[in-house]
């Protein structure tokens, strides 16, 4: 039997709905799941029917920030979420807007936020469904992660979550994990030009991978690449702090990065930096080819 999904868009750019279309095995997916409604994929029901009727849905997916003022047709989205969350086994927030407010927390709608979080602050709203909620943060989400979670739900597999309700399977690593520039990171060589193979972007180019939770360098995008592999800094899009400003330069205080790799103390970092800076490795200072 197909698992029924209702995909509701809040205040959103639909980037996650589009990212989902990049899932390479959609044909298999739609054999196992049915969208009772999805904003851009042909669905069983129209949005008007979703609002007018009380339909059965196993999983409720919310994309985009939400606000008490925001309506779908004439129905406040808060009411729709409450109605459909009640019968759903799980509620998924897809993207950083639905999870933390993200870019659309600046939407102009009153108190725009994520379902359970406004940035890193947990909200009182929707506590009654907190136990069934899962956050899939990212801007956009990686389709493999969404699909992985959906199949885990379908098969009744336990999904351990972190403090922001993100599945640990995908968010207990940092984006740094699996980065092909680790050798440059180890010896503290930035020396990077955007789009080139050489250099680690943490030291000067604003890369947030060492303190951002995500699997971008383990589960590649379009099965081939990631931002950091392609030569662009990680923007920290899975975190409650997203979006920040000055994404392409590292904020430093007298040469010391203001944010350090996750869990690394300042003294330990500086001690290690002092040692590694002593290395002069010609191979890593030059173009690879």
């Amino acid at each position: 039997m197909k698992t029924k999904i209702l995909w509701l868009s809040g205040i959103a750019c639909n980037g996650n709905a589009h990212s989902f279309l990049n899932y390479p095995y959609l044909a298999q997916f739609i054999d196992d799941f049915e969208f009772i409604y999805h904003p851009i994929i042909e669905s069983t029901y129209s949005l008007e029917e979703i609002i007018a009727l009380d339909l059965e849905s196993d999983i409720l997916i919310i994309e985009g920030a939400i606000s008490i003022e925001y309506k779908k047709v004439d129905e406040p989205i808060f009411n729709l979420i409450r109605r459909y969350a009640k019968g759903a086994k799980r509620v998924l927030t897809v993207g950083s807007c639905a999870t933390f407010g993200g870019i659309f927390s600046e939407s102009g709608y009153r108190d725009s936020s994520g379902l359970h979080f406004n940035k890193d602050i947990e909200l009182d709203n929707f506590q009654e469904i907190r136990d069934k909620s899962i956050s899939i943060s990212g801007c956009p989400i990686h389709p493999d992660i969404l699909v992985g979670v959906l199949y885990s739900i379908k098969r009744g597999i336990d999904i351990p979550l972190d403090e922001y309700l993100r599945p640990k399977e995908f968010y207990s690593y940092t984006v740094h994990n699996g980065c092909t520039r680790n050798e440059y990171f180890e010896y503290k060589i930035d020396n990077h030009n955007f789009g080139e193979r050489e250099g680690c972007m943490f030291y000067d180019h604003g890369c947030q991978a060492p303190y951002t939770h995500g699997s971008c360098n383990k589960i590649l995008w379009n099965e081939v690449n990631s931002k950091t592999r392609a030569g662009l800094s990680c923007m920290g899009c899975t975190e409650p702090t997203f979006p920040k400003i000055n994404l392409f330069s590292t904020k430093k205080n007298m040469g010391i990065p203001e944010e350090l790799p996750l869990g690394v103390g300042k003294r330990a970092y500086l001690t290690l930096a002092g040692v590694t800076k002593a290395f002069k490795i010609k191979r890593l200072e030059e173009r690879l080819f």
């Binding site: 205080n253 007298m254 040469g255 010391i256 003294r267 500086l270 002092g274 800076k277 002593a278």
Partner: protein
């Protein structure tokens, strides 16, 4: 037992380093030999080599020892819940205090470590041997910028201003040029440094 033995060995090593420091300060680095150091400590030359295999290794261990000694003192200041302005005063004060009471340490740093880089080239690349001290200076700067007291700038332009100034004053004292004792300059110098580095 073995820990006790190691502690004893460490204490002995520190005594040797202290003895060597005093001889280097009075006789000069190149004119001081391992037998001279052994003699001053009433040790056999053979036994000396049980602690330090060569004069270069001794020289390297001494600079690390001084860096750790000063680094510990700066760490105590960095860990205090006080403003960067107050920290500046305390760092200047402690540096001059060491220069007054353990002049051989600062002397070694300025006249031997910085002036004889060929001795340290092999094992003290970059700032490896003075890492503990430099790390604490970095933390003092970083926290000063973070709390809005110090102006953000290149680390070395700030480091040079701070340490060059202090080193220069100790050097002048060593040359008997300063009319007053070093501790009488603490207020003015910490005021100047803070003023130069603050936003």
């Amino acid at each position: 037992m073995s820990t006790k033995r190691e502690d004893k060995k460490q204490r002995r090593k520190e005594q040797i380093m202290q003895g060597a420091l005093e001889l280097f300060a009075s006789k000069g680095f190149y004119s001081t030999t391992i037998p001279d150091i052994a003699l001053s400590l009433k040790m056999s030359v053979g036994n000396m080599y049980n602690y330090f295999k060569s004069k270069d290794i001794l020289a390297e261990e001494i600079i690390k020892f001084i860096s750790a000694y000063l680094g510990d003192k700066l760490k105590e200041i960095n860990d205090k819940d006080i403003s960067t302005e107050e920290k500046t005063r305390e760092i200047v004060s402690i540096y001059f205090d060491v220069a007054i009471h353990k002049p051989e340490m600062i002397d070694y740093f300025l006249r031997i470590y910085l002036s004889n880089r060929e001795v340290f080239k092999e094992r003290c690349e970059g700032m490896i041997c003075v890492n503990e001290f430099v790390t604490e200076v970095m933390i003092y700067f970083e926290e000063g910028v973070r709390n809005g007291e110090l102006r953000d700038q290149d680390f070395f332009s700030a480091f040079g201003l701070f340490m060059g100034y202090l080193g220069g004053m100790v050097f002048l004292k060593g040359e008997n040029i300063l009319p007053k004792d070093l501790d009488e300059y603490v207020e003015d110098i910490s005021f100047n440094i803070y003023k130069a580095l603050s936003v």
